[in-house]
Amino acid sequence: MTNDRKLLLLCLGVLAILFALQFVLSSYLVLALTRILILSVFAMGYNILMGYTGLLSLGHAMFFAAGLYASGLASYYWGVPLGWAFLIGIAGSAVVSVIIGLLALRTEAVAFMIVTLMFSQAAFLATLHFSKITGGDQGLTLPTEARSFDLFGLVLDMTHDGTRFNIAFTVFAVVLLLTYVATRGPFGRQLVAVRGNPGRTEMLGFNIYIVKLMAFTLSGTIAGTAGALYGLMFGYIGSSFADFQNSIQPLLFTLVGGPGTLLGPLLGTALMTMLIDRLSGLTTAYLIVVGVLLIVMTLWAPKGILGTIRDKWARWLN
């Protein structure tokens, strides 16, 4: 069995388990899992850029927010049906990703981190400044009419936990498989080549600017997809989704799970989300635990959990 085949089977297995969990878990955990799946999509988008292409962005909240606002505002002001609003969100974040990518990719390494951070910070401030439209930090709550939609005659109610879980699951599954395809074969090889040695890759006839731009756009668009989904499913859009913390989040999730591994983002998101959720009721010191965990990870498992497993035992776990 080829390595890729093994990985695909693992992914399908994971998807099957995730789907089954909704019949097993308590209703709160189903909700938590819904959120984990959406945030995993965010992290998977991040992983394409950071894990596979080797570009560390500190501004992905901007793309998440682009999807969130594009879809949310379309729904709020023009009453666009949710399905279309979702697509508008994806398109909006794609546009933002391309524009920011064209600019930011002129820089490298630390300068790239700062440029993405700065653009993202400007975007965050813009959501505050144009509060007449965006609702600023207080945000906007989608009206009741925008909480359900009609999909080929089937009415899907966004306030229903089961519906939400299954929509999140579907989007997660699609993005997981898309990521699987995008990180393998010729396209994936380009990304990994750019990560491994950009100078050499250019001298092998690749336009690395374009390769990076494609990765950047794909990454930003997936992040935006997560944003659109989050906003529409939970019916609230607000500027705190565009802040620095929300840029750090996918970075942490990806790092803990394992950058450059297909399932790392899911694992990282699930672990970190549940950890914070469990600890926040017990103590305000949960951030210390998170901090210690990060340091421990870098000391003893610098490639993340799945990255370490891959390097030690299972090279196919890419």
Partner: protein, 293 residues
């Protein structure tokens, strides 16, 4: 207010901001220049300096200046030790890998913040200025202590410059910066140089924190803005270039002040943030950095 005094005020404010920024950013710059790592917990060292000043002010009897002077010595010393310990316990063990350093210092940032929150509480804590005198211009009043910050920053920067250029320590730092492996082969204790540099960088931030606190209050979340701005300054100034860092700090401090004359505050922030991004995009080596290719 007329435009002339307005510009005067904006310039004064810009200079004060530039001074604090210079000290903080120089710390980051020295660390990056020598060790090629980005310390995300740098803002927390700044915050620890400020909190240290508050603790000293609380514990020291006598006039405010006594506590202030004590803080100027004690807070950087403690922060420096802490930084050296972090270097020994963490950074050395991950071999200063750039990405791993970012992550572990994010971890360090969370830990420091929460420990301060749990020990000193969430309130913003005021500290008396060592002296208190308001200079009255015809149009507005201005704190003399703020001008003292500018002077103190100039003195400290000069001292650092002498240290870097004139002493053996500076030579070791530059040698290590130039080529780590060669330096090692020449018998330079690279490990100790790194620990020392990391500590010095943190101490710069801590001193800035002590200086700023009579002005700004100590608060456990106060490290965020200095961190972001220092990042910006270090990058715009050209990585590891000390004159560049100073020039960028002054430029950004002043432009931040002046932009707010012409735009509404939030719009001014957006404009200055975008400006920084675009400078980097079109001049990635920084305004004062040398082109590498």
């Amino acid at each position: 207010m007329d435009i002339a005094p307005y510009l005067l005020l904006a310039t004064l404010e810009g200079l004060v901001q530039a001074s604090v920024l210079t000290l903080t950013a120089l710390g980051l710059s020295v660390v990056f220049g020598t060790m090629r790592v980005v310390n995300v917990a740098h803002g927390e060292f700044f915050m620890l300096g400020a909190v240290g000043a508050w603790v000293c002010a609380m514990l020291m009897p006598g006039p405010p200046w006594l506590g202030f002077v004590t803080a100027l010595i004690v807070a950087p010393a403690i922060v420096g030790l802490l930084a050296a310990a972090a270097d020994w316990a963490i950074l050395k063990r991950i071999d200063y890998d750039p990405e791993a350093t970012i992550i572990s210092t994010i971890g360090l940032m969370y830990i420091i913040q929460q420990v301060v929150l749990m020990t000193f509480g969430p309130n913003a804590q005021a500290v008396d200025a060592p002296f208190y005198y308001t200079i009255r211009f015809p149009w507005f009043g201005y704190s003399s202590y703020k001008l003292f910050i500018v002077v103190a920053a100039i003195v400290l920067v000069f001292a650092l410059w002498r240290l870097m250029k004139g002493s053996r320590v500076g030579l070791l730092m530059r040698a290590t910066q130039y080529d780590k492996d060669t330096a090692q082969n020449f018998g330079i204790p690279v490990d100790r140089v790194y620990s020392g540099v990391f500590a010095v960088g943190a101490m710069m931030a801590a001193i800035a924190g002590v200086l700023v606190v009579p002005n700004q209050q100590a608060h456990y979340l106060m490290g965020h803005d200095p961190l972001l701005l220092s990042f910006v300054v270090v990058i715009v100034g050209g990585l590891g270039s000390i004159p560049g860092t100073i020039a960028a700090a002054v430029l950004i401090g002043l432009s931040d002040g002046l932009l707010s004359v012409f735009f509404t505050p939030t719009l001014a922030k957006i404009a200055s943030t975008l400006l920084v991004a675009l400078v980097l995009v079109f001049k990635p080596e920084g305004l004062f950095g040398k082109a590498t290719r």
